[in-house]
C-alpha cells in the first residue's frame, strides 16, 4: 500500500514537473493570437504529416525584430499572413518583437544555444549579435553559398532592390567562406552628425542664428559666440535651464572626429572636410587624440558653468533628462545623428524652430552600411522559406507597409499625395522601429516628410562619401582579452568625462594610464596590422 502510494506520488511529482513543459504549451498556445501556429515552429516538421491539405503545408517563418514597441499585433499579423497567402508564398509569418532592452539577450541566447524556433534575426554592427562576428562564428547561413545559392534561387528581387554598395558591405569571411551572410537593411546608410539648434530660444535671447559660425562644423563648440549664447540663456532662464544637451556617446565623436569602429576605442583620423582622406588611415587610440582632450576641457568648462544638466552623466537618467528638455524645447544646443528630413519632423514635434547645421560630410563606412540587416540562422529548418519571405518583404510594398505601419484605417490613413498620417493612439500599440524594417524605400512616406521624400532621401544617401576603409571590419578576436578589459575601463570613465562631470586634468591621465596598462597599444597594433592586410588584398 505504502509503496504504491510512494510510487504514485513521485510519479505525480515528475509528471507535474515535466507535464508543465510538455502539456501546458500546447494548451496555452492553442489560443495564441498570431494565427496559424506560432509555437509549432520547432516542431513544424513533425506536425507536417498530420495536415490534411493536399498542397505542402505552409512553413512558419519566425523573425526576431529589434527596437519594437508593439503590444497588440493580432490583426496586423493576420493581415500579413493573408497577404502572404495571396502571394502564394506557402509561408506563415510570426514576429517576435524584440525591444531595445531585450533584443541583445534574446538574439544571442537563441543563436548561442542553437534555438531552431527563430529563423531570421535582425543583425547589424552595433547589436550583440554583431553581423560580422556571428557570421564568422558560423551562426548565420551563407546566402550566396556556391553549393546552395539561396540568394539566387529565392532572393533575386531583393538583390535588385537593394544597392550593390550595401551588398558589398555585407560580404564577410564567415563560417562558410567569404560571401554574403545577411540581407542589408536599405535605409540611410550615409552617416551624418548635426547640431540640433533651438532657433526659437535663440530668437528670444536676441541671438542671430547666423552669427554663430555653423560652417565650422564641430569647431563651433569652441567659439566665443557659442559660449556667449549659452551664457545669455543661463542668465535669462535661470539656474534650472541647461542650454547644452550632451549625449555622452555622440557629442565627442561629432566634435573630435567621426569614426565607425564598434569597439569605440580607435580613431581613424578621417578628414572632416573630405572623409575619403587619408587614403590609408593609420589607427591610433581614440583617447590619445589631442582633439579629444581639447573637447574634454571645453566640456568641463561648460559643465562647471552650469550649462550641462548633471543628470546627463548617468546612463539611467540621461535619457529622461535629455528627452524632457528636447520635447519641451528647453535647450539651446543639442547633437543629433541626422537622418534626412529630420529638421521638419523635429520642429513639428517640439513646437519650435529646430535647425540642424551639419558637421562635415555624410560618410559611408562599414559600420554605417552594416547599420541594419537580417540574417538567417544556420539552425533554422526553413532557410529556403526564410529567404523567400525576406525577398517578398523587401519587394512587396503592400506587405512591407503592413509590417512597418500596421493596418490602413486603424493605424494610419492614406492621403491623396500617397503619404500617410498616423493615428497617434493606435500607433502606440503597434510601433516597430522603422529603420529596422528592411527596405524602407518601398513604404509610403509620412505626411510631415512630403511625397517626394524617398527620392530626396536617395539623393542624400548617394551624396555620402565612402571612406577608404569601407568594407573593412576590425576582427577583435586576436586581442579579445585586451578588448574585454578595455571596454570596462572605457565604461568606467567616458560618461562622466564626456559630459564634463569630472575634471579631465586628473581623470584623463588616469584613464589613459589604465588603457595603456590594459593593452590599448596591442589593440591599435593589431588593427593597423589588419588594415595593412586589407589594403594588401
Amino acid at each position: 500500500m505504502e509503496k504504491v502510494l510512494a510510487l504514485g506520488l513521485s510519479l505525480l511529482m515528475i509528471l507535474g514537473v515535466t507535464g508543465c513543459t510538455s502539456n501546458r504549451p500546447a494548451s496555452v498556445n492553442s489560443g495564441a493570437p498570431a494565427s496559424e501556429d506560432p509555437s509549432a515552429a520547432p516542431a513544424s516538421q513533425d506536425a507536417a504529416p498530420t495536415s490534411k491539405e493536399p498542397v505542402a503545408p505552409p512553413v512558419t517563418v519566425t523573425v526576431l525584430f529589434e527596437g519594437s514597441n508593439v503590444s497588440d499585433d493580432t490583426a496586423v499579423v493576420e493581415a500579413i499572413n493573408a497577404r502572404l497567402a495571396e502571394l502564394n508564398s506557402g509561408i506563415v509569418f510570426r514576429p517576435i518583437w524584440g525591444t531595445w532592452g531585450d533584443f541583445d539577450s534574446k538574439a544571442t541566447t537563441a543563436l548561442d544555444t542553437g534555438d531552431s524556433s527563430i529563423d531570421v534575426f535582425f543583425t547589424c554592427s552595433w547589436t550583440s549579435n554583431n553581423y560580422v562576428k556571428y557570421a564568422k562564428n558560423g551562426l548565420y547561413a551563407r546566402l550566396d553559398d556556391p553549393e546552395n545559392n539561396l540568394l539566387e534561387q529565392y532572393g533575386a528581387g531583393m538583390k535588385a532592390a537593394v544597392p550593390d554598395l550595401l551588398w558589398n558591405g555585407f560580404i564577410v569571411d564567415g563560417g562558410s567562406g567569404a560571401g554574403i551572410y545577411g540581407v542589408p537593411g536599405y535605409k540611410d546608410y550615409a552617416q551624418l552628425y548635426a547640431w540640433d539648434v533651438n532657433n526659437t530660444r535663440l530668437g528670444e535671447l536676441g541671438v542671430n542664428y547666423d552669427s554663430i559660425p555653423w560652417a565650422q562644423g564641430g569647431q563651433v563648440f569652441y567659439t566665443q559666440q557659442f559660449a556667449d549664447a549659452m551664457e545669455t540663456a543661463k542668465k535669462k532662464y535661470g539656474d534650472s535651464f541647461y542650454p547644452l544637451l550632451i549625449e555622452a556617446e555622440v557629442l565627442p565623436r561629432m566634435i573630435a572626429g567621426t569614426d565607425s569602429d564598434p569597439t569605440q576605442l580607435l580613431y581613424f583620423g578621417y578628414d572632416p572636410t573630405d572623409p575619403r582622406k587619408p587614403e590609408k588611415p593609420v589607427v591610433t587610440s581614440r583617447y590619445d587624440n589631442p582633439e579629444y582632450e581639447k573637447y574634454l576641457n571645453k566640456a568641463r568648462e561648460y559643465y562647471q558653468a552650469g550649462y550641462v544638466d548633471p543628470a546627463m552623466s548617468n546612463a539611467q537618467q540621461a535619457n529622461d533628462a535629455r528627452n524632457a528638455a528636447m520635447t519641451a524645447g528647453n535647450y539651446l544646443f543639442n547633437s543629433q545623428t541626422y537622418a534626412y528630413g529630420y529638421d521638419q519632423t523635429a520642429s513639428a514635434e517640439r513646437g519650435i524652430d529646430a535647425k540642424f547645421p551639419p558637421i562635415g560630410k555624410a560618410i559611408v563606412s562599414t559600420g554605417s552600411v552594416q547599420g541594419a540587416g537580417y540574417a538567417v540562422s544556420v539552425y533554422s529548418k526553413n532557410q529556403d522559406a526564410a529567404v523567400k519571405f525576406l525577398n517578398l518583404w523587401y519587394t512587396d510594398s503592400q506587405l512591407a507597409t503592413l509590417l512597418a505601419y500596421g493596418l490602413e484605417g486603424t493605424h494610419y490613413t492614406k492621403n491623396s499625395d500617397s503619404t500617410v498620417t498616423f493615428d497617434a493612439d493606435a500607433r502606440q500599440s503597434y510601433l516597430p522601429w522603422r529603420n529596422g524594417m528592411g527596405n524602407i524605400f518601398i513604404l509610403p512616406p509620412e505626411d510631415s516628410a512630403g511625397s517626394n521624400y524617398w527620392n530626396e532621401f536617395k539623393a542624400y544617401n548617394e551624396e555620402g562619401v565612402g571612406v577608404a576603409l569601407l568594407g573593412f571590419t576590425f576582427d577583435t578576436d586576436p586581442v579579445k582579452n585586451q578588448v574585454a578589459a578595455l571596454l570596462t575601463v572605457r565604461d568606467q570613465y567616458v560618461a562622466s568625462l564626456h559630459t564634463g562631470a569630472v575634471d579631465p586634468a586628473t581623470v584623463l591621465p588616469e584613464f589613459k594610464n589604465k588603457l595603456k596598462a590594459n593593452g590599448i597599444d596591442d589593440v591599435v597594433a593589431e588593427c593597423n596590422r589588419q588594415i595593412d592586410a586589407f589594403f594588401a588584398q
Binding site: L9, V17, S22, S71, W100, D102, N323, G371
Partner: protein, 315 residues
Amino acid sequence: MDTIIVKTGTNVKRRRAARLNSVSLPASILINLGLVSFALCCIIPFIFVVIISFTAKASIEANGYSFFPSAWSADAYNVAFQLGRQLWTSYLNSFLITILGTVFSVLICVLYSYGLYRTDFRYRTFFAFFSFFTMMFGGGLVPTVMVCKQLLNLNNNYAALIVPLLVSPFNFIVMRTFFKSSVPEEIIESSSIDGSGEYRTLFQIVAPIAKPGIATIALMNALAYWNEWYLSLLYINDSKYIPLQYLLMMMQRNIEFIVKNAGMLGTEATRMTQNMPTSSLRMALCVFIVVPIAFAYPFFQRYIVAGLTVGSVKG
C-alpha cells in the same frame, strides 16, 4: 509567552513563568527603541517612493523628491494604466507563476530534505552530496539554456518561468536543518512502530511540526518567483507570458541601451525614446510590484506564526 513571542499555545503555567522571566524595564525600552528605529528604516524608503509616485511634476522640478510635496498628482499612474492590458496580464502572470512555482518547489524541497534528514536512510550521504555538488559546479548559462530549450522544451511557455527555479540545494540544506532542530527522531521511530507509512509520517506528523520551516521556505520561493525577470529574458518571446518585474526591468534596459548606442541608432530611435517611461512612471511601477507582496506577507506571517508552535512533541 515571553520567551517564545510567536507562540500560540499559551497556558497559565507558562505565562506565569514568563512573567517571572521577563527583562527589566530599561532593557525593554532599549530593545524596543532599537527595534523601532530599524523597523522604521525598513519601511520609510517605500513610503517615500509611494509619495514620489504621487508627486506632481511641478513639485519635483521645484523641490526635488520630498516627503512633503507641494502638489500631488496621479499622472504617473494614469500613464501606467495606459500600458493597459499588458499591465494586468503581467500582473496575472506574476501571480500564476508565483503560486504554482511555490507549491511545486516547496513540495520537492520537503520531500528531498526529509530524506536528507533521516539518519537511517541508506543513501542519505549520497543524495546530500548529489544536491550539494550542484551548488558548486554548474555548466554555465548557455549550456543550461540549451538543455532547457531543446531537451525540456522550456521555450516560450509558463513552464519556462517555473521549472528552472524549482530546486534550490540551499533550501534543501536549510530545510534539513529545520527538520533536525525541530523534529526529534523518536517521533519517526514511534510512528514507524505505529505502522504509519513513510509518506504519512512525513505529511501528517513531521510536516506539521516543521511548519515554521516550510512556511519560511515557501516565502523564500514565492519571493524568488515574484522578483524573477531574467528567465523571461532567456525563454520568453511572447508578451502574454511576461511577468510584472520584467516590465519594469525592460523599461530600464530599453533606456540604457538607447543611451549607450545613441550614435548608431539615428533619429528614428531618438523619436521612439520620447515615448519611454520617465522615472516617476518607473517609481509607480515599483509600487505596483511591491504592494501585492506587502499585502501577501502578513498572510504568510500568520502562517509562520501559527506554525511556530512547538507543542507537538511535548504536548
